[in-house]
């Protein structure tokens, strides 16, 4: 008779077969443990780390990478990549910011324009990949250069400073951070963290509970079988890139809220941090599988490192150094796990 359920191997692995581990996924579990371990380590090593301001700093360091990472998770699930989000972030923020500062456009409209510009770049990427059939790496590499150049051309290679908190239109900063009181007793509320969580939940629902998400997961898993099921893969693949671009636009605003001044020609390299976050969070680079929650955990690992390392006397650039190891370790653990399964 037929085997109802093929046993992959006769030996059972108590770790892999644990229901909790199964539900979370090995790699994501490792990421969660790494995040807890890091936080624990810094808390023990440095009493100064255990403060509200540290938490705020961690959140502060995670917004723009976090937004980018949520968006690009969709592209990576399709089996693609979006290298343009870093420079699209800067480009959209430059244009939106200069509309606000130089042309007197209301800030609310500028925020919308910023996101829209990101979405447009995403649409172009999506069409190049899905209709023109360009490899995602090449298509988005091109867009990376185009958006970098376009931002500089538009701003005439001059930096743009978004309205200050106290100034006219500076209210947009309170989307990401609200300060209550002043002086030494001031309390900072990281509202941006709330926004990040809310958007993460929404995108997670879209990924897991709606048709766009279902089709994006399916085409990342087996594009041809999905196409042959009569699914409009052009539409859904393009949508993934639009998500990615829109979130890059939003990240541009978050970036402006934290750092005020946008420098033309910047932004290259941000996308790699976002990709690292996604991958540490357990999304497969070959597509078909991924989660927004994992992505957030990956991003937080990086910002905890960035914020925590100075407390134990290491400069923030050690963050890159250590994140590299975390990235390799997390992915390797997954590779080993998968090899065992096969």
């Amino acid at each position: 008779m037929e085997n109802i359920q093929k046993k992959v191997s006769t030996k059972t692995n108590p770790f892999i077969d644990n229901p909790v581990v199964k539900a979370i996924g090995t790699q994501r579990l490792i990421a969660v443990l790494a995040l807890l371990a890091l936080t624990g380590f810094f808390s023990i090593a440095s009493p100064a780390f255990r403060q509200w301001t540290t938490v705020v700093s961690i959140f502060d360091a995670s917004y723009y990478i976090g937004f980018m990472a949520i968006g690009i998770t969709f592209v990576i699930i399709t089996g693609g990549i979006d290298l343009s989000i870093g420079t699209v972030l800067v480009c959209s923020s430059l244009i939106a910011g200069s509309l606000a500062v130089k042309n007197g456009v209301p800030v609310a409209a500028c925020l919308a324009v910023g996101i829209l510009i990101g979405a447009l770049f995403g649409l172009c990427n999506g069409l190049m990949v899905s209709i023109m059939g360009l490899p995602p790496f090449i298509a988005t590499l091109g867009t990376m250069m185009v958006s970098k150049g376009f931002g500089s051309i538009y701003s005439k290679a001059q930096s743009v400073t978004w309205p200050q908190a106290a100034g006219d239109g500076g209210w947009f900063r309170s989307i990401f951070k609200v300060t209550i009181g002043s002086g030494a007793g001031a309390k900072i509320i990281p509202t941006g963290f709330l926004l990040l969580i809310i958007l993460a939940v929404i995108m997670s629902v879209i990924l897991n509970k709606t048709r766009p998400g279902r089709y994006i997961l399916a085409l990342g898993s087996n594009k041809e079988a999905t196409r042959l099921s009569g699914v409009n893969i052009v539409k859904w693949e393009t949508l993934a890139y639009i998500f990615s671009g829109s979130f890059a636009g939003l990240a541009g605003i978050a970036y402006a809220a934290s750092y005020s001044t946008m420098l033309p020609g910047g932004g290259a390299g941000f996308e790699l941090d976002a990709i690292a976050g996604v991958v540490i969070g357990g999304t497969s680079m070959s597509g078909g599988y991924g989660s927004i929650a994992g992505t957030l955990i990956g991003v937080f690992i990086m910002s905890v490192l960035k914020t925590g390392l100075p407390f134990i006397g290491l400069q923030p650039h050690y963050q890159q150094f250590i994140t590299g190891f975390v990235l390799i370790a997390a992915v390797f653990a997954d590779v080993v796990n998968r090899r065992k399964k096969n």
């Binding site: 085997n3 109802i4 093929k6 009569g230």
Partner: protein, 497 residues
């Protein structure tokens, strides 16, 4: 013909669940062209893979030049002079002819590769074989025929004593075939033993000295080519043993309406001017050998590949099918021969795969109605008797037969009236096969119309109400089930135009 160079005796080989070779014999003499024939899946390729060291045999013996040998990899076989010219040529397209011929054993000038010397050596080889090819040409620029000759030159350069040709003429033009035969005769005169795998009966008569026939992994017999007729060979290939009772007569009433009409369909080289009709409740078998263009016809019809010309009518209405979406909307479902690549999304659940083609009907506003989705999936798991613990099981955990049922469910949920089954029982074990057959019969009885592509003649004869036979992209025969037999089908399937 000279002395015996190779004796394969009682070769046995099993894969998980499949007994691929059962006590197979083959004898090859020096200076002989020996045809190896059999239907698809008869075990020819497996036998040759055992000979050339790609597979290890389970038992039996291989005696080569008087000594018993055992290869663990293809390299060892090549080193003693046994090579194979594959149907799919393994070329590094961007390298030159000479670089390809000497790949892995480059001629060196100190630490640097000596391309000039390799070109000179290759030129000498071509001269010996009477072939006109520039060794310095990029191999990807050559025609398939010329590339094949480079493969032959490569084999000769390795001092091959046995060369296996696996369907060498499948992609060649008439004049290229003539040239190839000239070379093969030349090789034969030089005392090289040649195993020649082909489905083309005419070629077998022209070029080979002896014929060994295999069927279902078994050795049937060896004949001297000039002493036997085409029919003798065909009879040996199909055998007298009928495993399944063939259908006696069509279940479709004479006046059943035509649901699908295809006229003068052309798509690339593999679909040439194909026309046929499909009636309501009919199972239309598509028979032919591998590479006959049946899958290509189905894919062009379904919009999976671009078609060059031709009209498609569904229920009398002309439809323009440009992509699978159009086909699905017109009520056509396609079950691919390569289920894992094209049929299902392996790491997704049964429920997800079941609604893949009709998810828009299982929505609650913006959200997927998972409860309804599971309900319909469960309904079809019961209806099709799919064996699975739950509908949340990833299809990768199911057996081949049950995976096939999930694909069937996908199209039934979509309410497709025309179903194209491409090799519906490939990779499915015997018990599950019968279940799939029963399902197909039930579907036809319910009024669904089915195109069934199959390379198994017994399957064609058991299931079909009518049979279309294809060969090399053309329809070469149409038989009612009453007039169809293994012999008549085989004759049409080997008819070259």
């Amino acid at each position: 013909m000279g002395e015996v160079i190779l004796t394969m005796k009682e070769i046995d080989k099993s894969f998980i669940g499949v007994h691929a070779l059962k006590q197979v014999n083959l004898e090859l003499k020096k200076g002989e062209v020996h045809a190896l024939m059999g239907e698809n899946g008869a075990g020819k390729s497996t036998l040759m893979k055992v000979l050339t060291g790609i597979y290890a045999k389970d038992s039996g013996s291989i005696i080569y030049e008087g000594k018993e040998i055992e290869f663990t990899n293809p390299r060892e076989a090549q080193d003693v002079g046994i090579t194979i010219v594959h149907q799919e040529l393994n070329m590094m397209n961007h390298l030159t002819v000479a670089q390809n011929i000497f790949i892995g054993r480059e001629m060196m000038n100190g630490k640097l590769i000596n391309d000039r010397k390799m070109n000179k050596e290759a030129a000498k080889l071509f001269e010996k074989l009477n072939i006109d090819i520039d060794p310095d040409e990029t191999i990807g620029n050559l025609t398939v025929g010329k590339q094949q000759m480079c493969e032959i030159a490569k084999a000769i350069s390795r001092d091959a004593k046995i060369i296996v040709f696996d369907e060498p003429t499948a992609a060649l033009t008439e004049s290229e075939i003539d040239e190839l035969f000239k070379i093969i005769r030349d090789l034969r005169a030089k005392g090289i033993g040649i195993v020649y795998i082909s489905h083309r009966m005419d070629e077998i008569k022209v070029i080979t000295d002896r014929v060994t026939v295999m069927r279902d992994g078994e050795y049937v017999g060896t004949l001297i080519t000039k002493d036997c007729s085409k029919n003798d060979i065909i009879n040996m290939m199909v055998g007298r043993v009928i495993y399944e009772d063939p259908k006696q007569k069509s279940n479709v009433p004479e006046n059943a309406p035509v649901v699908l009409k295809v006229e003068h369909l052309n798509a690339g080289k593999m679909v040439r001017d194909v026309s046929f009709e499909l009636k309501k409740g009919e199972i239309l078998g598509f028979a032919g050998l591998m590479g006959a263009g049946r899958t290509e016809t189905a894919r062009a019809l379904f919009g999976a590949d671009k078609k060059d010309s031709g009209d498609i009518y569904i229920n009398g209405q002309k439809v323009d099918i440009k992509n699978p979406m159009d086909a699905v909307n017109a009520g056509v479902g396609y079950l691919s021969e390569d289920r894992k690549r094209y049929g299902i999304v392996l790491d997704k659940t049964i429920a997800e795969n079941t609604t893949m083609a009709s998810l828009e009907h299982y929505m609650k506003g913006f959200f997927i109605n998972e409860k309804e989705e599971k309900k319909i999936a469960e309904e079809y798991v019961n209806k099709l008797r799919t064996k699975t613990p739950t509908v949340d099981t990833a299809v990768i955990n199911l057996s081949g037969g049950n995976q096939q049922k999930v694909v069937i469910a996908k199209w039934l949920v979509r309410d497709c009236d025309i179903l194209i089954f491409d090799e519906p029982t490939r990779g499915i074990d015997v018990g599950a096969k019968n279940e799939i057959y029963q399902l197909m019969s039930e579907l036809a009885a319910e009024g669904k119309s089915i195109i069934m592509i199959s390379s198994e003649l017994t399957e064609i004869l058991r299931m079909s109400d009518r049979i279309v036979v294809m060969c090399e992209g053309r329809k070469t025969g149409e038989l009612s089930i009453e007039e169809a037999s293994q012999e008549t089908i085989m004759q049409a399937a080997t008819l070259r135009n």
